[in-house]
Amino acid sequence: MVLKVFRWGPGTRERLQKYWVRARQGMTVLDALVEVQRNSDPTLAFRYACRVGMCGSCGMVINGRERWACRTLLSGLPRGAVTVRPLYNFPLIRDLVVDMTPLKSKVLAVKAVFVPARRAAEDAGFAQVGSGSRERRAIDGGIECIGCGMCVSACTMVGHDPRFPGPAALNRVFTLQRDSRDGAHAERGGLLLGEDVLARCHGQGNCTDVCPMEISPTDSILALRRRAVLRLLGFQR
């Protein structure tokens, strides 16, 4: 089968390079890339770590859709050449490797980090949210994010508005805004009402469609938006 792989490096022109790989049963796109790198082109750069669909570091755009290469079987793709590109909306480092820094900077921009409501010394041990509690069930899906960046790549609004925090950061905000142990709800609530934050999501659901962990950032964003409206109307602090 033919792999068409995006190639680019500083100072070089971007191109799609063709490689021929003998497809075997059970072969994934990652297997094919590794085979190319080992046998025909050691200069091909791509990122992976666990190889078993846990870490999310092999996220790529395969045949136009964000997928993890280690879980994408060649046999599951339509016949014909398979096109592999790096994730969209992230600065390129080389070939299929992107710089994930924007993921972190967007998280920090909306203060999507835990701020304890009380100092640890005031608690008799760790503050806990029971696994069966309503509070915990509300964020059960959202906390499974592995930070692979596929949702950010698939989001058209991230591509359109660089100030939009994007699905991953807003999903993280959602889990914090529903966390009773967190003490920055009001501060984040103000940030969320900014022109380039919640209002910028058009609910296209691309993030939800590509999330390998089956999280729905769209639902998280829409839930945040409902809370923001209640806050605007004075029903919620």
Binding site: G64, R65, P91, G205, S216, T218
Partner: protein, 107 residues
Amino acid sequence: MRDRKTLRRRTGSLEAWRDTKAGMWAWLLQRAAAVGLIAVIALHLQNPFARPVQAALLGLVLFHGVLGLRSILLDFGWPARWHRLLLLLAVVAAAAAFALVWKWRWY
């Protein structure tokens, strides 16, 4: 300084459209229907009795409206995972309403 390059989905390429998701189509079609409505309303005001323009107006209003209802349902907490089904239902509802109204022809 090192080159900085960020890939964006190129709407001009076929590959970018190859795996366009249902939610994206719903959004795009609703906007396209709105743009189409501007033109059709202008034509309709010039000649309110032109049947093809009436059909276009009815079709676009229904299509734009049901896709709007879909967005409202999602906004009010219907799971985003249902958005494909909602798109399908919206298209079916618009087609059914069009057929009913067109066949009824009450005026």
